[in-house]
């Protein structure tokens, strides 16, 4: 236990890990504020919510009636208003008495109705989407959930933070030539490597959960994340998903995948650091393994069937459904996104675990064998 505390103290205090965590957390918040392009329905939000409130949830007969009635009300109001203005101008032309204030009084309620039309039209679009498959598409306010779930963005601050925290765990020992001393100490061999790895895993799990929580908290405060028990397909981004999950369940699943992805990244970083013994190369390896597929894959879904940390670090693609587009010749359909089945997900997770296990064994072997080889060099 004492060694754990020493290692933790080394990483968090002496190597300034705590400062990095705080700084990158702040950076993440700034990033969220900057990149959040604002609500899709900012302008008509209050009107939209006014119409949405009574019909939230599944599409029912009652909802349809409500929408029809409101639509009639708005078009009726438009006609009434036109008639009123016509009557007013007629009365002005014929010099009969209909004062402006009288007109204003009469048009007031109709104009109020028409002002809300923008909000109603958004809801109506949503209705058109839900009507295609009313079983798993519900009416809800989507801005918050879209911002949280409907993207394939990498959490860059967390990624940088992991590079900063995991890389020095082994590299620092090599660079300060501490490894030779550690290896000759009683608990400095397998015991130490095991503790270092466990500590790295612990940090990764906590940070990954915490950053997922930060996302949730931010969007919850910013937009509100209500109705988490509604089906995932209520968001258009997941329109063709075949996963039978609620919004909240999907986010919990996504956070779980992110933990796996970040753990695997940590394993890769540790592997690189023990084998290259150089900070620069370790950092390079860690960043290339994530960023090259992130920026370089023309078909993003391919990442989900490759044993790389990236797909798990993003997570959302596991819940997406197939996406097709028309091919250039207009005769057939091409796959833009191919959904990942549950079996494939399970195989990928199993594969990552096997690879991680092998890598960890290799890390042990490499770190411990190290001293033997050096001794050979000294006394040939």
């Amino acid at each position: 236990m004492r060694e754990f505390i020493f290692e933790m103290k080394k990483i968090l205090i002496f190597q300034k890990g705590l400062w990095f965590i705080i700084f990158l957390m702040i950076l993440k918040m700034i990033g969220l504020l900057l990149t959040d392009d604002g609500a899709a329905l900012q302008e008509n939000k209050s009107d939209y919510l006014f119409y949405l409130e009574p019909i939230k949830g599944a599409l029912t007969e009652k909802t349809q009636r409500f929408l029809r009635e409101e639509s009639e009300k708005i078009s009726g109001a438009k006609i009434e208003l036109e008639n009123l203005y016509l009557a007013y101008y007629n009365s002005v032309l014929n010099k009969q008495a209909m004062s402006k204030s009288e007109l204003d009084y009469m048009t007031q309620s109709f104009e109020g109705q028409i002002e809300k039309e923008g909000g109603f039209l958004i809801l109506y679009d949503q209705y058109m989407y839900i009507r295609e498959n009313p079983d798993n598409r519900y009416f809800l306010y989507t801005d918050g959930w879209n911002a949280l779930l409907a993207h394939e963005r990498l959490d860059l601050p967390l990624f940088l933070l992991l590079l900063l925290l995991i890389t020095p765990i082994f590299c620092q020992e090599y660079e300060s030539k501490m490894d030779a001393i550690l290896l000759s100490s009683k608990k400095g061999r397998a015991n130490l490597v095991g503790k270092k790895i466990l500590l790295a895993f612990g940090m990764v799990v906590i940070l990954s959960l915490f950053f997922s929580f930060l996302d949730y908290a931010f969007f919850s405060l910013h937009y509100g994340l209500e109705d988490g028990h509604y089906p995932l397909q209520s968001l258009e981004y997941y329109h063709s998903s075949i996963k039978n999950l609620s919004l909240l369940e999907a986010y919990i699943g996504m956070s779980f995948f992110r933990i796996i992805g970040h753990l695997f990244l940590a394993v890769i970083i540790m592997f690189a650091s023990v084998y290259t013994k150089k900070t620069v190369l370790t950092l390079f390896f860690g960043s290339a393994v994530v960023l090259i597929p992130y920026f370089g894959l023309a078909a993003r879904w391919v990442a989900y069937i490759l044993p790389l940390p990236l797909s798990f670090m993003i997570g959302s693609g596991f819940f997406k459904g197939d996406e097709l587009a028309e091919s250039a010749d207009g005769m057939s359909e091409i796959i833009v996104y191919r959904s990942v089945s549950e079996l494939e997900t399970a195989i990928m997770i199993a594969l990552l675990f096997v690879i991680s296990y092998v890598i960890i064994l290799l890390v042990f072997k490499k770190y411990i064998n190290y001293q033997i080889r050096r001794r050979k060099q000294v006394n040939p």
Binding site: T279, F284, G296, A298, A299
Partner: protein, 397 residues
């Protein structure tokens, strides 16, 4: 000069760097192939009747100068198809061996996408350009009448730029459309540059060589300058290497044709301020990109010269890259951001003029100059920060 050679040998002729460059070249080519697979309209492998029909017609009949005879010949086969597939919608959906692609609708789509639309664009471009030039001329008369010198000058500039523009030749532009919107190789260059440049200053400190260097005759200013110069050489070299790889890979996958075609033959570059051909643009764009890369590497050099260990400068450099990318997306002004030179098509797609002392100047000139200034400032700061040389100052800092 000799010292620069040593720096290059020490910092860049490393085995791992050569492996990285080789591996990245491979990744780049694979990525370009992936890009081709997902975005090509007509495959150059001619493995389907649709692509084969297009390339056969293209090579034999329509490539090269646009003539009335060619247009008539094309319209003769296209008009009835258009009538059947779009106007009357009475086309035959069965396989038909007498068609080019096997299906009537396929023929229509192939001719429409491959020939009619691009030729129509090329043919009508002259008129569009003339219209812009004429409008600009009218503006000239108006602005000179109200004594607005600046607006007069900008109209004059636009009029002279667009007058006489025309596209006489028809070439398939798929390769250029895709090559000019491909950025991934720049990202690979950036990753390589970080891993190569971060150790340039840090390595001396990690091996405590900086102490010895600081007491040697050429160990101060001269070494710093040599380090900067060698970094510039390396960045230039690697940019050229990836430009060449990009070009050959795109040419191999999409098919190389029409290198001497005008840049504005691409619909995306309809309003480009550059009156140059495709191959000239490839060189101009590469040159501008190199300047952008130099500016980024100056930032990385500066950051790494401040630290003793590689960890922080590497991560900060990576973070700086992402912030520049983000700024490129979010900021309204393009000036001072090297990323606008690295992803430079936005700069050359539209004719934007900026006002400098009552003279209209192309926006890209302004952006290039501002990034050059940015580059200079970082280089000078790096030199200033690192100039201490105990040998010359008699031991004082």
């Amino acid at each position: 000069m000799k010292i620069i050679g040593y720096e290059i040998r020490k910092n860049y002729l490393k085995r791992y760097l050569i492996v990285i460059i080789f591996a990245f070249t491979l990744v780049n080519v694979i990525s370009i192939y992936g890009y081709y697979e997902t975005s090509h309209v007509f495959s150059t492998e001619k493995d389907d009747s649709w692509s084969k029909a297009f390339w056969d017609l293209y090579e034999e009949n329509y490539k090269g100068e646009i003539t009335i005879e060619k247009i008539n010949r094309l319209m003769e086969i296209y008009s009835p198809l258009y009538q059947a597939c779009v106007v009357e919608r009475t086309f035959n959906t069965e396989y038909d061996p007498d068609t080019f692609t096997g299906y009537e609708f396929g023929d229509y789509r192939m001719l429409d996408l491959g020939f009619v639309r691009p030729m129509e664009y090329a043919y009508t471009y002259r008129e569009k350009a003339l219209e812009i030039a004429n409008n600009a001329k009218q503006n000239m008369i108006f602005f000179s009448s109200i004594d607005n010198v600046y607006q007069y000058r900008s109209s004059l500039k636009i009029a002279s730029l667009y007058e006489g523009r025309q596209i006489n030749n028809f070439y398939n532009t798929e390769m250029y459309d895709n090559l000019f919107s491909y950025d991934f190789s720049s990202f690979l260059i950036l990753l390589t540059v970080i891993v190569a440049i971060v150790p340039v200053f840090v390595a001396e400190k990690e091996t405590e060589m900086n102490l010895i260097l600081s007491i040697s005759k050429k160990g101060g200013k001269k070494t710093v300058r040599a380090k900067i110069a060698s970094a510039c050489f390396f960045v230039t070299g690697i940019c050229i290497w990836f430009t060449i790889t990009d070009f050959f890979a795109f040419a191999a996958f999409f098919g190389l044709t029409g290198l001497t075609n005008n840049l504005y033959a691409l619909r995306d570059f309809m309003l480009t301020p550059l009156d140059i051909t495709m191959w000239e643009y490839i060189i101009v764009s590469a040159g501008v990109k190199i300047l952008g890369m130099q500016a980024v590497s100056a930032v990385i050099l500066f950051i790494s010269s401040l630290f003793k260990k590689a960890l922080l400068p590497y991560v900060i450099s990576l973070g700086a890259l992402f912030s520049m990318m983000l700024a490129d997306e979010l900021a309204t002004t393009k000036h001072f951001n090297p990323f606008d030179l690295i992803v430079n098509r936005e700069l050359f797609r539209h004719t934007n003029l900026i006002r400098i002392m009552d003279f209209p100047v192309h926006e890209y000139v302004g952006v290039i100059l501002s990034v050059a200034l940015f580059f200079g400032v970082f280089i000078l700061t790096t030199i200033r920060v690192n100039k201490n040389n105990a040998w010359l100052t008699g031991g004082r800092r």
